[in-house]
């Protein structure tokens, strides 16, 4: 009984971290320093080299970054 209550309280407290970010609120995500890679062209080069070596690709996100544009 006590562990159930503790679990419920923990779930309630942790779920406050879950929040909805609207597309119009993603200004900070669009900053250059928030990009997943520093240089787009360099990343493309690495992706291509990876594909050549591994004969496989993928595992990383698609284009557009986190800003919700397009």
């Amino acid at each position: 009984m006590k562990t159930s209550i503790a679990a419920i309280i923990l779930l309630a407290v942790l779920s406050t971290g879950c929040t909805e970010v609207l597309p119009r609120q993603r200004g900070n995500l669009a900053l250059p320093q928030m990009g997943l890679t520093t240089d787009g062209l360099e990343f493309e080069l690495r992706q291509h080299a990876f594909f050549s070596k591994e004969s496989a690709a993928g595992g990383y996100g698609g284009g557009g970054g986190g800003c919700g544009c397009n």
Binding site: E20, L22, P23, R24, G27
Partner: protein, 167 residues
């Protein structure tokens, strides 16, 4: 233990059901607004534009496709403004200075308004940045456009001219 599982499951399902009523779909009346201009203190109303075809664009300074769209929209505005076409661009930046800096780099002739709280954007349901709505002369939304690539201007021009010639 059963009760806990049920609780967790229902909590998760509740989180997933984030249904938003789409308030500005094609064929519906455009939600009315009263917003201040970004620069200056004039207030604009949707009613001011009744009788005109309005391209209502929700944009922000950090949105890269908006940089592409502004010069193209400005050219379109200048081409058709005498025929009853208006462009109203609602800025959604929390910091006005960033929007003003954007406009210094890309000056335009059309109306720029500022929606500081984002309330109007939520009414219209802005699902991507930018999102634009083409509203006809009677205030009915005729087209919703998500995102922007430079080729989109052709389709937009077609839609605008067909609405202008229909009346």
């Amino acid at each position: 233990m059963h009760k806990l599982y049920l609780f967790v499951l229902s909590a998760l399902l509740w989180c997933l059901t984030g249904v938003m009523a789409n308030a500005a779909e094609v064929g519906q009346s455009a939600p009315p607004f009263t917003l201040p201009a970004l620069q200056g203190d004039k207030t604009n109303n949707l009613k001011d534009y009744q009788g005109k075809v309005v391209y209502l664009d929700f944009w922000a300074s950090w949105c890269a496709p908006c940089r592409t769209s502004f010069p193209l929209l400005n050219a379109l505005y200048k081409k058709y403004k005498d025929k009853g076409f208006a462009v109203v661009a609602v800025n959604l930046d929390e910091d006005k200075a960033k929007a003003e800096k954007f406009l210094q780099a890309i000056p335009v002739d059309f109306t720029i308004l500022h929606d500081a709280s984002g309330g109007l954007a939520d009414q219209y349901v802005v699902e991507s940045m930018p999102t634009s709505f083409i509203v006809d002369q009677k205030g009915v939304v005729q087209h919703v456009h998500h995102g922007f690539v430079s080729d989109d201007i052709k389709a937009i021009e077609q839609k605008v001219t067909s609405l202008l010639s229909a009346n």
